[in-house]
Symmetry: D4
Subunit: 223 residues, 8 copies
Amino acid sequence: MSREFVRVDLDRAARCGRAEAIFCEGKLPGEVAEIAGILRASGQPVLATRAGRAHFDAVVARFPEAVWHERARCLTIDGHPPVGNLTVGVVCAGTSDLPVADEAAVVLESFGHRVERITDVGVAGLHRLLGEQERLRSFAVLIVVAGMEGALPSVVAGLVDRPVIAVPTSIGYGANLGGLAALLGMLTSCSSKVTVVNIDNGFGAACAADAILRLAAVEKASV
Amino acid sequence: MSREFVRVDLDRAARCGRAEAIFCEGKLPGEVAEIAGILRASGQPVLATRAGRAHFDAVVARFPEAVWHERARCLTIDGHPPVGNLTVGVVCAGTSDLPVADEAAVVLESFGHRVERITDVGVAGLHRLLGEQERLRSFAVLIVVAGMEGALPSVVAGLVDRPVIAVPTSIGYGANLGGLAALLGMLTSCSSKVTVVNIDNGFGAACAADAILRLAAVEKASV
Amino acid sequence: MSREFVRVDLDRAARCGRAEAIFCEGKLPGEVAEIAGILRASGQPVLATRAGRAHFDAVVARFPEAVWHERARCLTIDGHPPVGNLTVGVVCAGTSDLPVADEAAVVLESFGHRVERITDVGVAGLHRLLGEQERLRSFAVLIVVAGMEGALPSVVAGLVDRPVIAVPTSIGYGANLGGLAALLGMLTSCSSKVTVVNIDNGFGAACAADAILRLAAVEKASV
Amino acid sequence: MSREFVRVDLDRAARCGRAEAIFCEGKLPGEVAEIAGILRASGQPVLATRAGRAHFDAVVARFPEAVWHERARCLTIDGHPPVGNLTVGVVCAGTSDLPVADEAAVVLESFGHRVERITDVGVAGLHRLLGEQERLRSFAVLIVVAGMEGALPSVVAGLVDRPVIAVPTSIGYGANLGGLAALLGMLTSCSSKVTVVNIDNGFGAACAADAILRLAAVEKASV
Amino acid sequence: MSREFVRVDLDRAARCGRAEAIFCEGKLPGEVAEIAGILRASGQPVLATRAGRAHFDAVVARFPEAVWHERARCLTIDGHPPVGNLTVGVVCAGTSDLPVADEAAVVLESFGHRVERITDVGVAGLHRLLGEQERLRSFAVLIVVAGMEGALPSVVAGLVDRPVIAVPTSIGYGANLGGLAALLGMLTSCSSKVTVVNIDNGFGAACAADAILRLAAVEKASV
Amino acid sequence: MSREFVRVDLDRAARCGRAEAIFCEGKLPGEVAEIAGILRASGQPVLATRAGRAHFDAVVARFPEAVWHERARCLTIDGHPPVGNLTVGVVCAGTSDLPVADEAAVVLESFGHRVERITDVGVAGLHRLLGEQERLRSFAVLIVVAGMEGALPSVVAGLVDRPVIAVPTSIGYGANLGGLAALLGMLTSCSSKVTVVNIDNGFGAACAADAILRLAAVEKASV
Amino acid sequence: MSREFVRVDLDRAARCGRAEAIFCEGKLPGEVAEIAGILRASGQPVLATRAGRAHFDAVVARFPEAVWHERARCLTIDGHPPVGNLTVGVVCAGTSDLPVADEAAVVLESFGHRVERITDVGVAGLHRLLGEQERLRSFAVLIVVAGMEGALPSVVAGLVDRPVIAVPTSIGYGANLGGLAALLGMLTSCSSKVTVVNIDNGFGAACAADAILRLAAVEKASV
Amino acid sequence: MSREFVRVDLDRAARCGRAEAIFCEGKLPGEVAEIAGILRASGQPVLATRAGRAHFDAVVARFPEAVWHERARCLTIDGHPPVGNLTVGVVCAGTSDLPVADEAAVVLESFGHRVERITDVGVAGLHRLLGEQERLRSFAVLIVVAGMEGALPSVVAGLVDRPVIAVPTSIGYGANLGGLAALLGMLTSCSSKVTVVNIDNGFGAACAADAILRLAAVEKASV
């Protein structure tokens, strides 16, 4: 049985404004390199998520300009042109949440957006978070990443007027249930405007923020 | 023990652009009427969600201009001034999801936004949904309400470029688990830009859409 | 089959420092009145929790001095003598959590402790909570009651040095799962010293606080 | 304690129309080879599922004609004679679902049925799926394999009149809960005629399709 | 806000071979009567499921020929012409499962199929079940309805060669978890060809059986 | 910190009729050998469950008469004197359940009871089970081990008058949920006299059977 | 559709030693009375469980000798002849567990066994339980009923040598999860010989005890 | 992307009375050594939890005075000065719970408290536990660690007047659900004053005990 290969959607960039991203989990290094080759051949940037070292090695062998974002587990070649001049704040509570926060940040940068990060502002030490209030209010969209009880998005959303996208992480143990505690906490947030993506889904949060920023850019351009 | 009363946050409108909404569940009709009175006294519009007939009766006795949105279980007096001219599409699959879709729509209208509704476009009858593609693409933000397997947001998000906020409903039985099946389905959507709010939370979806539209309006005004 | 009656543990006050409390759920009004009579006959104060109006009516008919705490669903006759002069802070986020907070407060007062309440300090509006910091730090023990995502105990525990007992409530809907979301959130709190009791268990939180305060009183008396 | 061996049901082919299949999980390579030998000795075809490389090595050493279906994790020697001329469509959304889809296809082919595969037709990209409508309608039975939110069977069932058997896969993470999200989604499908088998159970779906096709063949032959 | 009405899909009968069924839950009696009227006006039979007494009263007032199937909670006017001469066996273990079994049977009869029922053949009393073996083998398709541990479909599927559709019911208490125990049992059945529908979903089982029988009828007619 | 050692309850044999068993999971091989030594020194038989090869190697080095029951993961030295002449039937459906069935059998034999095994009598092939009816009825107590949907104990209990102890196993995948499906199925069995132990707990089932047989032996001896 | 009636298994008494019991839930009062009539007509005793007042009224109208056990929700007419002279201990912790304990006791008495009850011996007050040690050790079989954390069976099983059947009850709230906490606690008991039945299933526990006692009686008679 | 490092909160000791602890999970050995260096440079003691051998090796290379507590998975350098002269009792049932009990004990000792341990006092062997009653009553605070059904805290709390903090462990299998059974059991304890921390969270229990002891010390000092 020969292995039929995944169809690459080369028209996506034209249709949606950005190229198709490669989800590496379950794909062989060679397959990822081949898809990267197809995208490059048509002049598109490459973004691969959930990429391991082996995926990167296979790609960089063909495209030496490929960049490896280790903690984010992302791989990029070029990126999309800038979209407006708004900034996304990627906020998280502790070092354990950084891989997910990084994935969101790398994806947004690849999509042509400005990103600023605030880390180590957990709700158990409010003075750090309150010291960042001004910066928090300067962001157009906020992605708030949190594990354990997942309370950070509720608190942040109470401090800003802009859209807040919450990303639960699987950091924790026991009653954390692999991130379910944080996920449920975010869904039942007392801050009404918080929306939520799947556990550890930094990529999804970045895509949602991208859609918001593109809408804002279109509105600005429409004047 | 005398009953201390809920503090009404009258500065919210100035601070956040819109007045505090009243969540009626667990409040006595007289309490809702009293809060409505405080808001009216300071010249603010009134929006009460999860309102029953008794809540409405208590309010309309004091404010004959109060409007009752039965299926949405909302009660409004006046509304906020229009915010930009973008339209939110509120999309749902069947008649059972209408109360939640209505809540989202009434809240958005009260917040000063334009809303259009598309109903009866379930994924089991794609021809109806595909017949609405053009309208779907005309919306700035989409709120997609669905019970049962909750597949509609995935399909809709594949047809449009704009932000999609998914609202699972508790419609269904058995393996639906009170809306959990739809909630989990939306969180694991294969359409990467979908974000999700709690089960039956039309109000939260409207607040998230409001934050996006206010950002777009600010951007437009900033030119 | 004649109904054997619950044995009343009259020695408990001597053995443990406080009389047995009556849990009314599943008991007939007459039964509660009879137990109250046995306790009174031996000169002990009466505390009944989860008491309905009918339970109170049956008791007050025999003991006109009985007091009805409606929202707390408690019934008391007399109380224990004061234990030290420390104060327990009972803190909650919204009006819906008041019945549980009240149960904790009434029980503590019946046990001979001072109680102060702070309500309406949810994490989505930090300015209210921060305005109460000084009071929060003045308490010897804090009972923090919260529904929805249950984030309040984490935030409060970050602001004080004293023991914090968290009580999740069943307030909420959908992904709240009848209080489980708040419970899991509190158990996975990033504030390490938070301990947790069962959903809606204001009585248990009061008993735990009572044990802490009695230890402190014994220590003080031992000098 | 000597190891009593699994009884091989050699009469099954006569009784049910097809030979017993070997489920390799938990069986040693030598055991699988021995069962294969017993089946071959009585002139029956061999089908082993959940077979690893070691199982295949043990079997091919004795039966060089054995065929290894790597991605499907199946091993076959010969197959059953053709049953009618109807075709089963095995449909899935992405490359990650291919192992389960392959298992269903290999099993059906071993049972004597025609199979056609359609892959990469996820609900987030309807244009691909709609481009295959005619083929979808040409199948007598459809096996639809999907992970994540498991929406594909609902959509496919809305496009065809024939029986649709849904197979959830464990592909996904976080709120996917090891395939439970897809399973619940399929069970609560808004397309009423969808039936469901266990997570990753391509074999079970093939058996159910086989029973349907044998009924149709009997009916045709009865004229 | 005027109430937009559910669109009735009158072309369904032409497109799919049978008219749209009315799901009464969440619909007002008058609405059901109105939909029935639209279907009758275009000469189609009426089938309404989850119908209460009030729904029936509203319909029979306009259509005296309407029939009320109380235990099945179904309402019918006319039915579809016969489809072939195969028989569906609807099998269940006890009287408590009869409402779900009846729903399946009434729906199938309305769709033009022959139905035979076997009740009171639980797995704890095998002699009754074994006494019906011959009849079980005479059915073209079997719908097996069971609550509690849901073991009946496994046992029945071991006795017959034809497709078996399992319907878990919510009958039971405690560890039954509202039918989840039966549902999980059926999904993990050791009889490989069993497929499953949602808890209490007699309608869905009937629709799946209908699709199988129509395929068989088409095959027979194609000779 | 020196490692305080587990206290061995040497009086157990005198007090309860049988010596303490050693649960090896989480114990080092040397620790198990040491406990075995203490038991032997006081003339007691040794039974160790959940024992790995390393545990056996450590024990057999000191006690060459130790016996290794590989599939049961048990290790024995001597055994208790026979208790009566009743026989326990240990029944299971497939080869995958044999390790758990073996644990129950080895433990019972070590406790001084007669055991007979019936394997490969799954509910999907009733003819095998029915062929063993006479033997099933000859047992004083039955331990029925089953994974997947766990239906075997219900069926067996319907065929015999004696106590039936059900042991769910973790055999299965997907909706099996690590044995929970079988566990829930057994708890909701329609055969009223079935009692249940934890998943994979062959040891517990043997202890329960032992208690029943000792009662019967005492009764017999009391005449 | 006329209502086919449940078949009454009149041979059960001959076959199994006791008559069929009537499970009233879901049965109409008249149906219960009719089944009672059939049993009486063939000279058998009547035992009906989960019986409401209306069921009793219907039965007592025809059989004035019927006895109503209100708290146990049982109804009996006559009973079976005594089986041996062993006593079952039915033990529970609090008044809330009495209905389930009563069901077990009434059923056992109807089956011809001696029963003694011990109530109000919760694990939080060990002195009461320890005061009953001698009586506990006098029972041939123990049925231990407990809600909340379900710890009582573990403690009791540590004090006696006889079979212990644990019955979790749905008494409790919040994390009790309708009795699941007690059920899981009993299944994971550190006392190895405890077996468990479904939540609130006093009837099942009685049936299991009955099977044990009949075995003992047969053994005694066999000497 | 350079790796921003975790901010060390050096003021914590001044602010809260004790230095920040290092949670090693997810941190590289070098990172832990570096944080230890920062703490030592400011003259603070070091406490690292969830530390593996590699973490210890990295730290001891720089600080030879570092102590390795293998079973507790803790690493300490110095400790805090003694706080009062009260003793915490750390109680557990079996050897498998020792790692969690040890973590609690090591953390408390590092915080300047006296600790005594009681092990091997499971509820299935009450005589051992009752033999320790006097010691149990001598503790100011009790930390009770238990896996399986988690009944020990309920029983202990019934024997003492002081605060009881319960720690469920993940010890067990099957229905234990990774410690959830013990967690739920402790939350629904019939001993009202028990509070609970997350599964395996010995550190959190120690922090809660520390807060109680510091309150008592302050009270004593205030005389």
